[in-house]
């Protein structure tokens, strides 16, 4: 697994990219079909941040497909990280911050798995994670940076970071290794059937992740026509040729938010936090049973969230445009 997290040599990166079908073609499919692009042991980058634009539906599909040994990276990891550890899908998370969210305190699930060494949580600074993806997306093997120096965060990373000297100024900087995930999971407000994605509001690290990854699975609240995309090409944030699968999934981030469409499902998140605080292992297992394994479909999952919650989250979400 460890070798999945260091730098892919350039010619190998190019070879993988050259093999991809990057032509303009339709790639709409089901969640289950899209999940089949993920292989056991893959490095999977998760789009969004904390409880915003999380590709929940794709994670739901990966859990149901019983994937194994995925290495997960994300800018900030929330309850979807607890789900990935609790389900056994991942034993290795690379992120800058890992807990459901500040207001819910320190995740007992994260603590349970990492303190017992059942899972590994590699900590990088938030900008370091971002610049690793960015270097990967730019096709360079490292990015010089002025943070993650002098602290124990870099010390703990060992050979995964290297000191470099600027050949012009002589300044000492840290070299961050490029990160090219095997596959990225990204949820957006709208995309066309080719995978051209337009994002509203907060973009997080999604664009760099898409450019860096060797494959991208896109879920979208709705699929729009390519004509619509072409009328405002300056709004496209992810180009179709990076995308391998497009799945239309309404409420695809629930119980997290999707900018301008729905805010987080706070009551649901409160209940999840309370349940895992009481008993991390049992709490998350019950959550998985109730919301991941038992529903017959994504619609059934949404039924379990409840119409009232869906309407309330949507009302709050759309309110960003009420001004």
């Amino acid at each position: 697994m460890a070798d999945r997290t260091i730098v892919t040599p350039h010619l190998e990166l190019r070879r993988r990219t050259a093999e991809r079908d990057r032509g303009l073609r339709e790639k709409v499919m089901s969640l289950e079909e899209a999940a089949s692009f993920v292989s056991d042991g893959d490095h999977v980058a998760v789009g969004g941040c904390t409880i915003s634009r999380t590709p929940t539906a794709l994670i739901w599909a990966l859990v149901r497909a019983k994937k194994k040994n995925l290495v997960i990276s994300r800018s900030i990891t929330s309850s979807e990280g607890d789900v990935l550890l609790g389900s056994g899908v991942s034993k290795h998370v690379i992120t800058s911050w890992f807990s459901q969210g500040i207001v819910w305190g320190v995740s007992k699930v994260m603590r349970h798995y990492t303190e017992s060494r059942k899972a590994r949580f590699d900590e990088w600074s938030h900008m370091a994670i971002g610049l690793r993806y960015r270097a990967g997306g730019m096709g360079i093997p490292y990015m010089p940076v002025r943070s993650m120096i002098g602290s124990d965060v870099n010390a703990l990373r060992g050979d995964e970071v290297k000191e470099v000297t600027c050949p012009f100024t002589g300044e000492r900087l840290m070299a961050l290794p490029a990160l090219n995930p095997d596959i990225a999971l990204i949820h957006v407000q709208r995309a066309d059937a080719y995978g051209n994605a337009q994002l509203d509001g907060l973009q997080f690290m999604d664009i760099d992740i898409a450019m860096a990854a060797n494959r991208v699975i896109l879920t979208t609240e709705r699929i729009v026509s390519n004509d619509q995309i072409r009328r405002a090409p300056d709004q496209t944030r992810i180009p179709f040729f990076t995308v391998d699968a497009v799945v239309e999934v309404p409420y695809g981030s629930a119980p997290h938010e999707c900018y301008g469409l729905y805010e987080p499902f706070f009551d649901h998140m409160d209940a999840l936090a309370a349940q895992t605080k009481a008993d991390p292992e049992k709490g998350i297992k019950k959550y998985l049973d109730d919301f991941y394994y038992e529903p017959s479909s994504w619609s059934d999952y949404l039924d379990r969230l409840g119409a009232e919650a869906l309407i309330d989250a949507s009302r709050r979400g759309r309110s960003i445009y009420n001004d």
Binding site: C49, T50, I51, S52, S75, I76, T95, S96, W97, F98, S99, G101, I102, V103, V106, S107, M110, R111, T114, E115, F121, E123, W124, S125, H126, M127, A128, G130, L131, Y133, R134, V145, R146, S147, M148, I149, G150, S151, D152, V153, L156, E163, E171, R172, M174, G201, L202, Q203, F204, M205, D206, I207, D208, E257, Y259, G260, E263, P264, G317, I320
Partner: protein, 256 residues
């Protein structure tokens, strides 16, 4: 000063740290006390203050009663001037556009190093904390203000793990490590305003809050801390300051 206080410890923190912010500054703020304090400063004495949020937000304007639960959600973008990718808003720190980083702290030491990663030995921690987030970047790349409760278990001689670097081992060790800019500026607690010695970079008391005696600070600090004989005193929170706080956070999410 034994009169009954008309404010909570959190309100005191928000008021005292808000006063340190200056008009025209660009402040990289966390949620909770930092956000409240920055909003307070904007409404009382620093209308040209700009707030940045880690989620990628430039210059938002907080809507009373709709405080964001994190810095990475749509509520953070209310009436913002700009929304950026996360990496780019953090790069503003590296480029030098940010005057002050402003965050809360779980554990701090004599040299202003912060720990939000591990309690105990990182190899076999008693508690795995959530980690750095942008804390390491902010404290590595700009001048820092930290607001936190003054408790002995939080103010320790040396943190178990340096998540967000202060002055490392004091003296010139921060710059020697390669961190040539920024550094800890102020720690604001419910007892005092703290700064750092210009040479040794050891934490010291700059001013005590109303009703607080030097002994109380010493008792609640896990290392020897210098307190000048004629230490300054802060002015108590004013009615207008408290009124703004209560307007912005009517549900007392962060000031209970």
């Amino acid at each position: 000063m034994t009169e009954r206080k008309n404010y909570t410890a959190s309100e005191l923190l928000a008021v005292m740290s808000g006063r340190i912010l200056e008009d025209g500054q660009i402040v990289f703020a966390g949620v909770g006390i930092p956000l409240l304090a920055a909003t307070l400063a904007q409404r009382v004495h620093a209308p040209g203050l700009t707030i940045l949020f880690e989620g990628g937000v430039v210059g938002p304007f907080v809507v009373p009663g709709e405080l964001p639960p994190s810095t990475n959600e749509q509520r953070c973008t209310r009436r913002a001037n700009m929304v950026l990718p996360i990496t780019d808003v953090l790069l503003l720190l590296q480029r030098g556009y940010v005057d002050v980083g402003f965050m809360g702290g779980a554990q701090i030491d004599r040299y202003g190093n912060l720990n939000s990663s591990f309690i105990g030995n990182p190899e076999k921690p008693a508690i795995r904390l959530p980690g750095t987030g942008g804390g390491n970047d902010i404290s590595s790349l700009t001048q820092m203000i930290v607001a936190m409760k003054h408790e002995k278990r939080r103010f320790v001689d040396a943190v178990d793990f340096i998540t967000s670097p202060g002055f490392i081992k004091g003296g010139t060790s921060r710059a020697d490590s390669g961190l040539i800019a920024g550094g800890m500026y102020r720690v604001v607690t419910d007892l005092a305003i703290l700064g750092f010695d210009a040479e040794t970079k050891e934490m010291q008391v700059i001013a005590l809050h109303p009703g607080v005696e030097a002994e109380e600070v010493k008792d609640n600090t896990g290392f020897d801390i210098a307190i000048p004989d004629h230490v300054a005193r802060t002015e108590p929170p004013q009615e207008n300051e408290l009124a703004v706080l209560r307007d912005v956070d009517p549900d007392r999410l962060y000031t209970a």
